[in-house]
């Protein structure tokens, strides 16, 4: 008589895979929040290394200025053309400046800037930190008594949080100017009337909303970029760096879109900004 055998636990069933996936996702979210909390804590702890912050401000801000200006300018031009063409059948094409400026300030300025920087800066942060992890440079920092979060994450987090709103201001002006160039040169729109309309419909509250959004997007880009860089396994190698970098760009974009929806809901729906 053969002894009874117990059925082994399934390791490839759908329920098992889903449970595993859920567990991993929740663990990752928990780790990301732990890193975020430590970053905030380390921001307020001396010593403060302003030279590291300046280096990141320069890298993130100055080096991204051209691409942000070009992106903003052409977004404004597209809005100008679309706005004019769509409003003309209803004989309200005179409102095109209002359409461009409100769209750019409240939504597209911070959004386009965040998209550009998530691809350019977020991915670069992940690539740099994950390479440091794989080549044991982060371990070397630890062994030399330097906190990697304070040394590597804090300057990048602060620089992104400062430069995103700063670049958004440039991007917004470029967008409004792009709209001006498009409608004035292509449709013969009155330039003075465009500027007057922009002045009439550009409220300080709108700029405030734009800057809140931009700062939040900057924090998200840095947090995702740094977390993905730190979360790679030391044995990940070049493939791990590539996967982490791609993952960082994708998660940043999704985070920005979700955050944008949440901020729109809070600012416009719950707090009543217009």
């Amino acid at each position: 008589m053969t002894p009874p055998t117990s059925t082994p636990a399934p390791t490839n069933g759908l329920a098992f895979l889903l449970k595993n996936r859920l567990y991993n996702t929740l663990s990752e979210i928990g780790e990301a929040f732990r890193l975020f909390a430590e970053t905030i804590f380390q921001i307020f702890r001396p010593p403060w290394q302003f030279d590291l912050l300046m280096k990141q401000l320069l890298f993130i801000g100055f080096n991204s200025l051209t691409v942000v200006l070009v992106s903003g300018f052409f977004t404004g031009m597209v809005l100008g053309v679309q706005g004019y063409v769509q409003l003309k059948p209803y004989a309200v094409e005179g409102s095109v400046a209002q359409f461009v400026s409100v769209s750019v300030v409240k939504e597209l300025g911070p959004m386009i800037t965040a998209f550009v920087l998530s691809g350019r800066i977020g991915a670069s942060i992940t690539a740099e930190l994950s390479t440091m992890k794989v080549t044991e440079q982060i371990d070397a920092l630890e062994v030399m008594g330097t906190n990697p979060v304070k040394y590597l994450v804090v300057p990048r987090f602060l620089a992104c949080s400062i430069m995103l709103p700063t670049l958004t201001i440039f991007s917004t002006f470029a967008g409004i100017f792009g709209g001006y160039i498009a409608v004035v040169t292509l449709f013969g729109f009155n330039g003075s009337f465009y500027i007057l309309q922009v002045q009439q419909h550009l409220y300080i509250g709108s700029v405030f909303i734009s800057l809140i959004k931009a700062t939040s997007f900057g924090m998200a880009i840095a947090a995702v970029g740094c977390y993905k860089g730190f979360s790679i396994s030391s044995a990940g190698g070049a493939e791990g760096v590539g996967t982490a970098t791609t993952g960082s760009a994708v998660i940043s974009l999704i985070t920005i879109l979700v955050l944008d929806f949440i901020l729109n809901h809070i600012l416009f729906n719950l707090l009543g900004f217009s």
Binding site: T131, M132, T135, E136, Q137, D139, A140, E142, V143, M144, G145, T146, N147
Partner: protein
């Protein structure tokens, strides 16, 4: 100086260290031997405080380090220098900035004073004129030397070496081995060397430990390890140790090699 008591460490379901006990007395150089994946580097990283443990105690210079807060641990780390397998030099910094990093972070030394220390440490590892080069411009052997100079910058009492000769040609390996031996003698430091290069192990070690399947298989001086009657250890030594240190007339060795006295 370093005392490891019943240390256990696992990654997921894989037990890497399964109750390791070890002592490294002051001024000795302990070589940790073992096959790839047996937990040698994990043990080294535990001593450096880079990895937490699942159970046991790790004492460094009279302090139990596994439960220390980061601030206290950083004070202990100032007594430790570590040479990483890949040297782990900071790509974005020059050689001089790499070596001066710890001084810059933890002391109030002026640039001139730091420069002096950098020159002095580079001289100790037989390098000069590379201060302004970037790590990418250095050869493998030079990177290891710079890594060692960086490990020495804070005058550590303990130096940890993670596979110091891996990836180097035989001549450079020999140079690095001599350098480690000379430094240990000159600076009177306590060292732990992880390697599976037997030439290196017998060249620098005053004590040896062999890890196998998460446990301590053998521990003792190089001579006692050669005479240890353990087939796994003997195979490990015989496949890698230089002939000049092996006495093939030794009955234990003859048993495992099958070699006969000429």
């Amino acid at each position: 100086m370093i005392s490891i008591k019943n240390v256990r460490k696992s990654f997921g379901e894989k037990n890497v260290l399964n109750g390791i006990d070890l002592e490294v007395p002051l001024g000795e150089t302990l070589v940790i031997l073992g096959r790839s994946g047996c937990g040698k580097s994990v043990l080294l990283k535990i001593i450096a405080g880079l990895l937490s443990i699942d159970g046991g105690e790790v004492w460094v210079d009279g302090t139990e380090i596994t439960k220390l807060k980061r601030k206290k641990m950083n004070q202990i780390r100032q007594k430790i220098g570590m040479l990483f397998q890949s040297a782990a030099l900071f790509d974005s910094m020059s050689v001089a900035e790499n070596i001066a990093f710890m001084l810059d972070q933890h002391t109030d030394l002026t640039q001139q004073e730091m420069r002096k220390v950098v020159d002095e440490k580079l001289k100790l590892v037989d390098l000069d004129g590379v201060q302004e080069l970037r790590p990418a411009q250095l050869s493998g052997g030079m990177r290891k030397r710079v890594g060692l100079a960086r490990a020495l910058a804070f005058n550590p009492e303990i130096i940890l070496y993670d596979e110091p000769t891996t990836g180097l040609d035989p001549v450079t390996c020999n140079e690095i081995n001599e350098l480690i031996r000379d430094l240990n003698k000159k600076l009177q430091v306590t060292s732990v060397v992880v390697t599976h290069d037997m030439h290196s192990a017998f060249s620098v070690g005053t004590l040896m430990v062999m890890l196998h399947e998460g446990k301590k298989l053998a521990y003792g001086t190089p001579d006692s390890m050669i005479n240890e009657d353990n087939p796994i250890l003997q195979q490990f030594i015989l496949f890698g140790a230089p002939d000049q240190i092996l006495n093939i007339d030794d009955p234990t060795l003859r048993k495992y090699t099958g070699r006969k006295t000429e």
